[in-house]
Assembly symmetry: C2
Homo-oligomer: 197 residues x 2
């Protein structure tokens, strides 16, 4: 067993460091050396686990994608069978998600700014994030009795994106940022409206 280090395996430490730094400073602005330093890992070990920086980026997004899915799953479990609560569970997950205090927006939309070529190994995870959100919200919207599940799903996703974008806006604008958006309440109203209409 390769241990000896107090903070988990080298691979985990690399992904932890990559995630922290990529989210804070951006992917391109973060040198491999910075990741190695924070992870307390030597260069050879990084390249033993990943073919290159591109795949480290992909690994970071893959792990974050799975963590988000698990967080959302757990929030859904807590809702039991209440269809309305289940549609809104995405906002509970947003509060529960590790690094929920992040001052920057959606990590996948942020990565999409820097990873623009479909051949990039991380690109598939950008698509995976949107796919998960769209498909799951559509199912949940349908189960809640919405007449137009696609339209309700788009509204919920819009509120989700708005919540994350407002984090960035507050970060860059300081005091001049927007007021907090009551996403959950607005989403609940949307659910009711879509069932009534």
């Amino acid at each position: 067993m390769p241990r000896a280090h107090a903070r988990g395996t080298a691979r985990d430490r690399l992904l932890d460091a990559a995630e922290e730094l990529f989210v804070e400073r951006g992917i391109a602005a973060t040198g491999v050396d910075a990741v190695l330093g924070r992870a307390e890992v030597s260069p050879a070990t990084l390249y033993a686990h990943f073919p290159g920086k591109d795949h480290l980026v992909a690994g970071y997004l893959e792990r974050r994608h799975e963590r988000w899915r698990a967080t959302w799953d757990a929030a859904l479990e807590r809702c039991g069978d209440d269809p309305d609560a289940r549609v809104l569970a995405i906002f509970d997950a947003l509060d529960d998600f590790p690094t929920a205090t992040s001052t920057r927006g959606c990590a996948f939309l942020a990565a999409a700014v820097e990873v623009t070529e479909p051949e990039h190994p991380a690109y598939r995870w950008l698509a995976a994030d949107t796919h998960l959100l769209v498909e799951r919200l559509r199912s949940l919207a349908a189960e809640s009795g919405a007449a137009e599940p696609d339209a309700l799903a788009a509204e919920i996703l819009g509120l989700y994106d708005a919540a994350l974008a407002s984090r960035t806006r507050r970060t860059v604008a300081g005091d001049g940022g927007p007021a907090a958006l009551p996403c959950r309440a607005l989403a609940a109203a949307a659910v009711a409206r879509h069932r009534a209409g």
Copy 2:
């Protein structure tokens, strides 16, 4: 007069090229050489106009900020004195804005991913974008008779951010993207609700 070129002055061509490339491929991923090539400008000329790449980024964001403000102004003018239409004018401006067909989201939130240090000469324009949106929407919300102008402004800004985020989502997700969001109609409902409530 220094002309001779069919596409405007060297400075304008530099900013045009920078804007196109930075929006398409990201700032860090775009080399100065690529900007020079598209602008048909020599390196010495670039550094005669800008102290460095950082200031070229700042110049690009400054010009885009002013263009957005002018587009919004024009949309407001067309609304005359109708307070409801004036709150919704931001969505008209979004349609009118040059490069409205952009497949990527808000250029300022995108730049905020890559420009994270407040000392960067472009940073102030990130803040300026949010300030303009927040302050102007707050004024317009108050003029529309909203009981809580800040809350209405936050909702409108949320719909604006949602509209731009969904562009990125559709780009990365292809067919699996979200349905189009009827932002203007949703915003109109929010305006009515805030006056009634």
